[in-house]
Symmetry: C2
Subunit: 188 residues, 2 copies
């Protein structure tokens, strides 16, 4: 035993195979490409080698699969793959999975003082508008998923709650910035 542990993307791909059954690499990619919050590009350069890796580790098995002239490969979970996937899921769930994920917007807010007041206001205005728009996207995605399983729905709901909080927080930030600008001793 003592196999090298799965990367996050590898865990996800195993999960997709579990969820959707035997799939082509292309089908796997589409899930990532179409996701509303794309944490991975879903590029072929990521997926194809990854599946080969998993096959070498016997977590996945491949089967030739041709549609017409075009030939491809269908991948499915092995028993070992299934249990590796369950182990990846947890428990236990590692610390860093529980903790708050990194957020590039938060770090930018940290440095907002580096901008002249005008740019700062402009940034926040744009950010709030875009965030609001993104929120609608997620709401829609959430609604679309009502037909799916309980946990898919709960995941989507998680994204929704996060995005709502994000918007409220941005409102607070913008408000604070506005107050800041009123005071004479602003700007750096």
């Amino acid at each position: 035993m003592a196999e090298r542990k799965l990367s996050e993307l590898e865990g996800c791909v195993l999960g997709l195979l579990w969820e959707k059954g035997p799939s082509t690499p292309y089908a796997v990619r589409q899930v990532f490409l179409k996701s509303p919050s794309p944490q991975w590009s879903g590029s072929s350069g990521a997926i194809y080698p990854l599946l080969e890796r998993l096959e070498r580790r016997k977590l996945v098995r491949s089967k030739a699969h041709a549609t017409g002239q075009r030939q491809g490969t269908l991948f499915s979970l092995t028993a070992a793959g299934t249990s590796a996937f369950r182990a990846w899921l947890g428990p236990p769930v590692p610390e860093w999975v529980i903790g708050i994920p990194p957020d590039p917007l938060r770090t930018r807010v940290n440095f907002l003082g580096a901008l002249p007041a005008v740019k700062r206001a402009k940034l926040l205005r744009a950010a709030r508008k875009d965030a609001e728009r993104h929120l609608h996207l997620i709401e829609e995605d959430c609604r679309r998923r009502q037909s799916q399983g309980a946990y898919e729905r709960l995941m989507a709901r998680g994204a929704l709650l996060m995005m709502q909080t994000r918007c409220e927080w941005l409102r607070e930030v913008a408000e604070a910035a506005r107050e800041q600008a009123m005071r004479p001793s602003a700007g750096r």
Copy 2:
């Protein structure tokens, strides 16, 4: 012009130099090492080469700096570095910065159906406890930052709000899972 654009970590490091003034690589590392939500390891293998990169691009300037027998380098922002940093901050802020950041816990919830009910319950119990603990950490960090600048505080507040939402969401998930378990046709 048309310089290659800054990575997220590069932007952060420039920001730290802006915030703290001339710093040694070691000092920069400490910020990442001590951060309560470590999105980067802050390893020397990341920071030293990064600063060299930035120096080659003239965004940063280095100065020999010895304390006693030990010699090191002090890095500071150049004018070009300052404006590159401001440009990185935005506006405009790229889409993916606005959108909800990826969250490994959310993806795990998506696949929760793959676990037997007992493990699922156990996972959620542990996750909620750990999340609650993490929340306290962040609350504390938040309190500690009250003395700092407005935007540092707002960043910390953002983290706090997110973590609170995370905890509430986890409660929902656990509740839904409990209901699920009650119904006879559960488990896969």
